[in-house]
């Protein structure tokens, strides 16, 4: 039965099961969880709220997945969100229309991404350090743009991006879904995704075999910047103002967490965009669930910490090799196969993750 599933679906099965378990827990603490109602021409309900509120992390996770697939990491996305929100707010406050403001903000995001990519690919700086520079300095730059105040705006068009709705669905959800689908088509219907994975597994080997690794690395950081810019615009539009201090604060960590929950290894290589997006939804479901259950939100961080720990244990080489040895048919057991990669490794996680994360 398992084998008849589409391989792509089978890969994200553990994440889907986790999501269902988390949602199930939410129903236990809040029986009306799945209730969706229609009011003022749009849908309301906890599920819609999760899809809506999870937009920033989901968007960041798209870019972060590609960056992590190249064995990199982008710590600056939170600060880039602040910069781009500030740029958009400053643009509409200066009298330009929505399209100009959005384009300016997206360009700012891409510029930040290109800077990170330049540091990583051309100057060969470790990704953590290279993006740390913008993470530290970025909020200062955002403060310079907003001139130290929370820059508020009343532009209807821009606010629509954060809290409007289209076809009864909230705009932020449509934006991240569209972005995710576009990126997935871009990397999976062309060879791009394969090349990104090749660069992540071995930059030198793939460069020697003709892949222009450095160009790809710069490109994925630029995409990450673009995603961060979009998330920044949504967050600014949602609160009708650009808050340079708090916009996107610590979201880089949530985004990395979403990617890791989604089953992409931090060591680069194979990635799954759908998994990361589900990861983002899992995080948001936990947040919403804790709020709904009346638990103090303080427990949020502790629960997140334990989830990371469980995932770390599952992904760790020791546990992986033990599981691999158990799963291996005897006649193949002395084969030199890769334990981490491959489809069978993925559904192995399914059973473990189900047991590990059910409580």
């Amino acid at each position: 039965m398992m084998n008849r599933l589409h391989p792509a679906l089978r890969r994200i099965l553990p994440q889907l099961i986790t999501l269902v378990v988390v949602l199930g827990c939410n129903v236990l603490v809040f029986p009306d969880f799945f209730k969706i109602e229609m009011a003022n021409g749009r849908l309301y309900g906890s599920i819609i709220d999760i899809l809506n509120r999870g937009a920033p992390v989901a968007l960041l996770a798209i870019g972060m997945t590609l960056v992590i697939a190249t064995k990199g990491i982008d710590l600056s996305v939170g600060a880039v969100m602040a910069i781009c929100g500030a740029v958009a707010a400053a643009a509409v406050a200066g009298g330009s229309d929505v399209a100009t403001a959005v384009v300016l903000a997206l360009c700012a995001g891409i510029a930040c991404g290109l800077w990170n990519g330049f540091l990583v690919a051309v100057l060969n700086i470790q990704p953590i350090v290279a993006t740390l520079i913008l993470m530290v300095a970025g909020r200062g730059v955002a403060q310079l743009i907003t001139e130290g105040v929370i820059l508020t705006f009343t532009n209807e068009g821009l606010i629509f991006l954060g809290s409007g709705s289209l076809m009864a669905l909230p705009m932020p959800f449509l934006i991240w879904l569209g972005f995710g689908v576009l990126t997935a088509i871009l990397v999976r219907k062309t060879a791009l995704g394969l090349l990104i994975e090749a660069v992540g597994i071995n930059l030198r080997a793939s460069t020697l075999s003709g892949v222009r690794g450095n160009v790809l690395i710069v490109a994925v950081y630029a995409i990450s910047g673009l995603c961060a810019a979009t998330a920044g615009i949504i967050v600014a539009a949602d609160i009708k103002g650009a808050d340079a201090n708090n916009a996107g604060l610590w979201l880089e960590l949530d985004a990395i967490l979403a990617v890791v929950i989604g089953g992409t290894s931090l060591l680069g290589g194979r990635f799954t965009l759908a998994g990361s997006l589900i990861g983002a939804m899992i995080i948001q479901s936990i947040n919403t669930g804790i709020l709904l259950s009346g638990f103090p939100p303080e427990f949020n961080l502790i629960i997140k910490a334990f989830i990371i720990l469980v995932i770390l244990i599952i992904q760790s080489p020791i546990v992986q090799s033990v599981l691999f040895a158990m799963r291996m048919p005897p006649d193949l057991s002395n084969d030199d196969a890769e334990p981490v990669e491959g489809g069978s490794a993925r559904d192995r996680d399914a059973s473990v993750q189900k047991e590990g994360m059910a409580p």
Partner: protein
């Protein structure tokens, strides 16, 4: 000259140059009072950065220290407010917890062979969450012993004050220097940062060193939390957000290689002082906004990373 010393020399040169620049505009900058305050205001950061230097020397990273500082502060404040325990025993307990916390992270990093980045990220969430669970409000610390501690200072000529927490930082730096450059543990730390396979072949006890380094970082974060609680006279679970980044920045500005294996404790102290100097200058100036601090630190980070890349490039060329 050994190129290893170049980053350190560059750091010292920048510090002296920056100080001279500040002095030329505001002659009061060189007064013992300003120098004393520079040490007092940056004591908690300096102590945390010393622990971070050890971690970075092994090629690791510890993102949890800001949260551990906040947790220690809240823990001390809650215990002092609700029990009649003496602050000294509370300090001991807090240091024990933070050290065990660090050791636990080190153990996980070693046994699970996972990147320190993500393990300490979990530690960061956990410590901050525990602080939130203890209290979400800022708890003032009012204890006679705290008043006594805060009144301990040496008068230096020129009305300057060398406070207790400033002294604690200097002592920590001295211990850090001795530990890193004069003990077997220090050599292990450098060896580990130089390359894991080589370190293993040389007989470095990798497991013990890894656990010890993160335990040391946890201990320093706990000590930093104690100092921070003396500095602010309160425990607040949202305090010290982002201190880990400041500490990493100070270590890098201090000339320590982020890939591990090369660096000096004294450089970290100067890195912390450079960051403090920027802040002091902004306060003296009065018209500049404090967010310039972040931008200047970002710029300095970039400069130093470039310098290090250049050095690595030059030395690797020399070897060929």
């Amino acid at each position: 000259m050994n190129p290893r010393y170049l980053p350190l020399l560059a750091t010292i040169a920048i510090f002296i140059l920056a100080y001279a620049l500040c002095y030329s505009q505001y002659p009061n900058m060189l007064s013992t009072r300003v120098v004393g305050n520079l040490l007092t205001d940056n004591a908690y950061l300096g102590i945390a950065a010393i622990g971070m230097t050890f971690v970075i020397l092994t090629g690791g990273i510890d993102l949890s220290i800001g949260s551990v500082i906040a947790f220690t502060g809240v823990f001390i404040a809650v215990l002092l407010a609700n029990t009649s325990m003496h602050p000294m025993s509370v300090f001991a307990l807090a240091l024990l917890i933070s050290t065990c916390f660090g050791a636990l992270m080190g153990g996980i990093i070693h046994t699970l062979e996972m990147p320190p980045f993500i393990v300490t990220l979990a530690g960061m969430f956990l410590a901050r969450g525990m602080a939130f669970v203890l209290s979400t409000e800022s708890i003032p610390i009012t204890h006679d012993f705290y008043d006594t501690l805060q009144d301990v200072f040496f008068r230096v000529p020129g009305k300057g004050r060398l406070t207790l927490i400033g002294i604690i930082m200097i002592v920590t730096v001295i211990i850090g220097v001795v530990l890193a450059h004069r003990t077997r543990f220090g050599s292990y730390v450098y060896a580990l940062g130089g390359g894991l396979p080589a370190a293993k072949l040389m007989g470095v006890p990798v497991a013990r060193t890894t656990v010890c380094v993160y335990a040391l970082s946890g201990f320093m974060a706990g000590l930093s939390g104690i100092v921070f609680s003396m500095y602010t006279s309160a425990g607040y679970s949202l305090a010290a957000v982002g201190v880990e980044l400041d500490a990493i920045a100070a270590v890098v500005i201090g000339g320590t290689l982020l890939t591990g294996g090369s660096g000096f404790m004294i450089g970290t102290l100067i890195g912390v002082l450079i960051m403090g100097l920027i802040q002091t200058y902004i306060i003296f100036d009065g018209t500049l906004s404090s967010w310039w601090t972040k931008i200047v630190i970002g710029g300095l980070l970039f400069t130093f990373i470039l310098l290090q890349r250049g050095l690595v490039w030059v030395t690797s060329r020399a070897r060929i």
